[in-house]
Symmetry: D2
Subunit: 284 residues, 4 copies
């Protein structure tokens, strides 16, 4: 009999299902706390198939920034989070060399909590066409990255898998790396809109607010895929299961529903700006 | 000790809290089923203060159309619902005489399930300025209604109560009647996006997806207020309470969250069109 | 010395540069007038390289529907135009057989007169994913077409050529035919928003409100490309040249400007609906 | 015979119709150039009915900031313009005392060059509801202003005059001052999107991209009205008249058309942010 699956896109939450003193082979965890900025960074490294199985997530590095004030409208704080995030992104993107980066804004721009990805691409400094037009020499800089962006839409709007669109575009434009931004589902409502996860493991089926049925990974797209995600919803089913611990209480209809805060429009606007600024800093 | 309040904006659901054979004094109920169109119409008449107290709703007539296929993308069916709705609206609006109608699209156009009201005003046939410019005589019609519309926004966007804006506009433009469209919170997720309630009792505090802190009624605006509402969300708290029957299971954070279906963007687009068409028919 | 180039995307207008009695070799013209619907259809067939050179347009068939009332808000008339348009589309698309059609909404959804293409895709009945999920057998129909859609955005938003995106997506999803919708620049302001051109010659550099630098044709995408265009702007330079017949009067700054009617938002909404309905009818 | 009227909303341009050495009685002009920021400020004071008649503008102070780089995407420069603008606004708003300010975003949010006003209100820090909820004492500040905002829409959307809506809202909410933001029509295309005019003379018929048929002034609304305007279009008729100096060359159809740059979406986004920041600074 199928067990009710608690859905989480956060590796950090996947870890929390185990007692703290259980040692998971193939899973390394590291915590870091920036007291001045009040940002907690948890790095989960899934290093073996064994660890992947235990965690229910593919092999890779998952970096989670928890910033409690991230849902507050404090511009200076958001800039600090952008700067912290940019540091981690630089490392994952390998910006030591010149990079051509394709940023993919996943999700549905017409559904507020799912519009995070499209909004990030909207705020991005797009440069690929300028570099191609005028050449790298035209820039008074030692290193110049090329940034392109696409908002593929969701399957109900396009009739196509996101993977089909992204793979096609990647094959034509040959980026060095793909950055995919997605709104995630969290396990716990207290993490909503306060947590940013970046990972080099790509995007996987069932992740996100929408449904991607195929992974976006190096294997499927031909290019390394860095994922940036923010939990903006909790599954309605999860909230009920949490309250009841009874999987029979989770009525079938709930599976097509999600829970989201009432001020989600302001929150998405701010978060998308924070993430696009981080990318703008990392790729400037 | 304060009891956990199950929130519903549907008079029909308020009635369901009582056993069916309990007779509520001052509350008359009538049911009608259009088999051909598969539309069930329940009319709840709250006729006395006693009935109002028992129901937790003000005196007035509440007509609820339940149309199970309303969330399907069947254009012909939507047109039939528009026509049925138009009949009830004509009666409440008194379109036997020439009427000047101000349509108010309540809610936040940037939050998908709350954008129903703004979308309805968007699709409306606005005529007041044309009638005022060219005169009623210019129309080859016996009777010509004047339709105006406003999307006041929500308090976080305007800093003003909806009532302040609507009352001000009504005092300047002197409509005969106000029609206020609002996205509602339902008690049961099975009614979401399948039910339309119209009422001559106005709009009341705590109704809707957003929070109106002041009623929009004849008393507060100076003009009769017809409310049209569709439940597009369920309170997260309600869903948990339903599953647990335990008000302690309802964590405080849940009160600022709502539950909504994942295809809410398509649904809102269709529903708003169906309602604006009903108004266009009733006022043509 | 470079001559000032009057820019038009309409083959019909290109023809008008010549005296009516000049016979252009390799160019056949046919006119048809539907009196009942007041729709004039001009078919220009450019049949040889010679004709192509004279006309400044590639070999192909260009069908122009002129419908003077198209910019009026008359729903019944718009439906008739959709039906007429659908007939021509069926022929060009070859809907006698089952077809897989990729509809590309060219243009910038954030610039009103350029949003025609994105809006058409928004209103389209997308079916490819459903057919792929449930199979053709699941439909109680003899023939079932697969429709997919994409809004690639413009280069300033994506850093990529439209061709790169479309070719990539076409290579992955293998449609039988591409339909590209684009807002055009007209030569004469009297044709704005009243004319629809469909053509099997694809989309070409310098066409449209935005700038596509590479053609979308069978040669470049690997798939036949049907173009549907509506002139929604006139180049500012053209308007001045028309008034002065003096190319020195056309100041350089004007080249980055366009002229558009003030009620362009309503017009685009209606026109995009008319075109998406034509596609929905042709592909149902 | 009616003369062709060159339309400009900029007092500075109205002055330019006269030779520089013509002395206009009742009109005082002052120029100021901030070399570091490359911002030229022209203050036109129309002090008598005589001056008003000569200029074709009501009595009042008109301050024009010309900032050539304003249409460039340079964030630091935009911040400097915001700061300069804030200084002038503080003076006109009288922020030495606590003020209650109603910001009105005029124009049509669905027409790109007319969306300036709605966008400014979108980015504004709205505080009136918070001050009213928690009281001024709750703020750790000596002085606290109350900011409210409204986007009234245009007559085709509402069926109402803008004045009817604004006057109604002002009577209900009793602001000390109204700030009305509007997209303007310029005389010269070289001023487009590079010029900001602020004035204490209110908003007048025929101003702006849309058509306000009634003035928004202290006389009509009961409250002083500060206008902030940016020319985002040139009338198509003006451009042709400029090129030909022949009013017969201006065809009637051109009067319902406007000319706007192709990158108007990016420009409006930046300009609206610059103006809302200026207001946020002035009212913080």
């Amino acid at each position: 009999m199928e067990q009710f699956q608690i859905r989480t896109d956060l590796a950090m939450e996947a870890r929390e299902r185990f007692e703290e003193d259980v040692e998971l082979r193939g899973v390394a965890i590291e915590e870091d706390y920036d007291e001045k900025r009040d940002i907690r960074v948890t790095t989960v490294r899934i290093e073996s198939e064994n660890g992947a199985k235990a965690m229910g997530k593919p092999i890779g590095t998952y970096i989670t920034l928890e910033a409690p004030k991230l849902s507050d409208p404090d511009e200076d704080y958001h800039r600090e989070v952008s700067e912290t995030l940019a540091e981690y992104l630089k490392e994952l993107l390998g910006t030591g060399q010149e990079r051509s980066v394709l940023v993919v804004g996943l999700g549905n721009r017409d559904v507020t909590p799912d519009a995070l990805g499209p909004e990030v691409v909207n705020n991005l400094r797009i440069t690929r066409h300028v570099v191609r037009e005028y050449g790298r020499a035209a820039f008074a800089k030692e290193k110049i990255h090329m940034v392109s962006g696409i908002v593929p839409g969701v399957m109900a709007q396009t009739g196509m898998e996101t993977l089909e669109i992204v793979r096609g575009v990647a094959e034509e434009t040959r980026p060095d790396v793909i950055v995919a931004i997605d709104a995630l589902a969290a396990r716990s409502s207290k993490r909503l809109n306060r947590t940013i996860q970046i990972s080099d493991a790509g995007i996987h089926p069932g992740s996100g607010v929408g449904n991607h049925r195929h992974s976006l990974t190096k294997e499927t797209t031909g290019v390394p895929v860095i994922a940036i995600g923010v939990p903006t919803v909790v599954d309605a089913a999860t909230i009920v299961y949490d309250a009841t611990r009874d999987r029979n209480a989770v009525l079938p209809g709930l599976n097509s529903m999600f829970v989201t805060p009432k001020d989600i429009d302001e929150t998405i606007k701010r978060l998308s700006f924070t993430i696009s600024e981080a990318l703008n800093i990392a790729l400037s």
